[in-house]
Symmetry: C2
DNA sequence: GCCAAAAGTTAGACAAGGCTAACAATCTGC
DNA sequence: GCAGATTGTTAGCCTTGTCTAACTTTTGGC
C-alpha cells in the first residue's frame, strides 16, 4: 500500500524507498540492531585472544552474562557469517573479516567511552552506556565525539 | 570457572550476581533493547494523536517503515503490556502508563537530539542517531547531555 | 593413567519481531 | 447506498536470541 502509493506518486524515485525520513531512520536503527550482537562478540573475542591467548566459550559466556548454549548458538551464526572459525571443543578464532570488524568496534567503543568520560560521566556508567550507544553512532557523530574527547 | 572462582573468593557476595561488571553492562544493554520498540511506538502514537487527532495503524506502519501486520502484532503486545488500548478496526489509545512513558521518551529524545545538534551534527544525521542512542542513555548521561545542550 | 570436574554440545522450548498471502471491515465518491 | 479503494486482521512462516536439561568431550590432580 505504501509501496503502491510511492510508485504512483513518485515513479521517478531512484530507489523504491519506504516513505518519509522517519521511516528511514527507524529502518537504519533496526539495521544497526541486527549487528549489535556480532559486534560485541567479535570485540570481546579479540580482547580475550589478546589478554588470555585464546577465546574460550566459557569466558565469552561469563563476560557476556549469558549461558553456554546461548554462546554456542551465537558462535554458530558468527561462523556462518564468516566472522569466526571454530572446531568442536576448541576455542574460537577470528577470520580476517572478524578481525577487521573487531578492530573497528574497539575503536568506536574507545572513542564513545572517552567521550562520555570527558563529558563528565563516571567511568562505570560511561562503560555501561558506551556498550549500548556505540552501535548507534554514525561516522559523523563519531568524528565529533573524537574531537570532543581530544580537545585540550 | 569464573563462577566458581567468584564463589570461592567472594562467598559473602550479597547477590548471586552473574560475574563481573562487564556482564552487568551487557545485561543492562539487553534489558534496554527489550524496551526500545515499545518506547518508539508509544512516542510515535502520542505524536500522531497530537498531530492528527488519532493514531491509526496505517500511519504507524508508514512512519515506522514496517508492514501493517507487524504493527498489528506489536500493538497487541503493547496492549498486553498495558501501554495502549485498542478495539478492532479502531485507532489506538495510550493508557495512563503509556502516556507517561511517551512523555518520558519524548523528553529523552528531545534532549539527545538537541545535544547532537549542539555538538555540531547536521539535523538529519542527528535525528537518525538520536533514534538509536536515546534508548541507551542513563539518567546521568542524559543530565550531562541536557547541560551541554543548554550551555550558553 | 584414571576419573571427577569443567567445558562444550545438542535438543528442544519459547518470545519477539519481521514478512507475505489471504480475507474482512470500513470509508468514500459518485 | 454501493462499488472499489483503503485499512485492518488473521494465519502462518522465518530468524534471532534467550533459556533448561541432558549428554559428551576434554582436562587436570592425584
Ligand atoms: Mn556494545
Ligand atoms: Mn563494545
Ligand atoms: Mn528510538
Ligand atoms: Mn524516539
Amino acid at each position: 500500500m505504501t509501496n503502491v502509493d510511492l510508485q504512483k506518486t513518485n515513479a521517478v524515485e531512484p530507489e523504491a524507498r519506504a516513505g518519509d525520513a522517519r521511516a528511514e531512520a527507524f529502518q537504519g536503527v533496526r539495521a544497526a540492531r541486527r549487528n549489535e550482537l556480532a559486534e560485541d562478540y567479535v570485540e570481546l573475542i579479540a580482547e580475550l585472544i589478546h589478554n588470555q591467548g585464546e577465546a574460550r566459550p566459557v569466558d565469552i559466556a561469563t563476560k557476556m552474562g549469558v549461558t553456554a548454549p546461548t554462546v554456542a548458538k551465537t558462535l554458530d551464526r558468527l561462523a556462518r557469517d564468516g566472522l569466526i572459525t571454530r572446531a568442536k571443543y576448541r576455542s574460537v578464532f577470528l577470520t580476517e573479516e572478524g578481525r577487521a570488524l573487531a578492530k573497528e568496534c574497539r575503536h568506536r567503543h574507545e572513542i564513545v567511552l572517552r567521550f562520555l568520560i570527558r563529558l563528565g560521566l563516571d567511568p562505570e556508567t560511561a562503560e555501561h552506556d558506551a556498550e549500548g550507544i556505540e552501535h548507534h553512532v554514525s561516522e559523523r557523530t563519531l568524528a565529533l565525539f573524537a574531537a570532543f574527547a581530544n580537545r585540550s
